[in-house]
Symmetry: C2
């Protein structure tokens, strides 16, 4: 019996720019490595746009294509018993539902809505995105001049205005722990 004894899973963090997705992803990654000796692939927006989505714009069609590619890569990792943490705004409900269906058929899937309010995201503005959007220098920013369709039934919802990164990461890890995957 040489099949992997590990069941793969994907943690998909969705939320506005500046909500704290990447910060949580990185801490969860560290905990998985340090406490469970597990290898993780992080698919955050910038890695994905470099590795599989270079050339795509931020139009609705290209955002959907970007999420579809994330779903494909995360699915293949999950299929092989690996762990993937995806962190992307992923503003469209239908695109997220497609990702859930694909990955859920290959392993476990957890949607985490990083639900930090827009005002807080805009105050942080780590990349200056909101400032530029308010000045009209960039367009199609979800929450400003583009839609962000809130998840209706995420496996977990986190408002990073209130918790420490450590608490947030532990809450996320509880999902696969609860299901016996770690």
């Amino acid at each position: 019996m040489k099949t992997s004894p590990l069941r793969g899973f994907t943690l998909f963090l969705t939320g506005l720019a500046g909500a704290g997705k990447t910060t949580i992803a990185q801490r969860v990654n560290e905990l998985l490595l340090d406490e469970y000796w597990r290898t993780v692939t992080i698919l955050d927006g910038e890695v994905v746009r470099e590795m599989v989505s270079s050339g795509l714009t931020f139009s609705r069609a290209d955002r959907e294509l970007n999420i579809r590619r994330i779903g494909y890569v995360a699915g293949e990792i999950t299929r092989h018993g690996g762990i993937c943490i995806a962190a992307a705004i992923a503003p469209f409900r239908v695109a997220r539902a497609d990702v859930r269906a694909r990955i859920g058929a290959l392993g476990a899937y957890y949607e985490i809505h990083v639900a930090t309010p827009l005002a807080e995201c805009e105050k942080r503005d780590p990349k200056g995105l909101y400032r530029m959007a308010r000045q009209g220098l960039v367009k199609n920013v979800p929450g400003v001049d583009a839609v962000y369709e809130e998840p209706e039934k995420p496996e977990l919802r986190i408002d990073t205005s209130f918790l420490s990164v450590e608490e947030e990461a532990r809450q996320v890890l509880q999902l696969p722990v609860r299901d016996g995957l770690l």
Copy 2:
């Protein structure tokens, strides 16, 4: 210890259109499933162009980008202890060297040159590609009006003019078997 006990690897089949890459990939996949109970991701040209490379052309730059994306996905699968079989023309030596370096750092990597002569590929012409190329209806076909840089030191070279698919697939499988990966 929950780390996967499996060491991942990628079998990368390169060669002209019609050389027999996909046929070999499919038989190797069946053998891995039936005899070793292993899950495989096949990244052949059409899957890749649907899932991560839609919109790319067959220009030199886009072909390189396509191979780079295959290398990225295959690398992540390999990282998690999975098995990936990539089947792509991949005509450029430098792009293949980049893929080898990336994946080799994450697991085992085997380049298989499916070295069926052009005349034989053209006789088979399963997609009518060569016929269209000779009629000037398509351009940038490696071996016709675009370069195919032959691998200098592939782990295995197969000329499908002489062997059965079964023999070819067994030769490919010998590579990971020899290294104790199966």
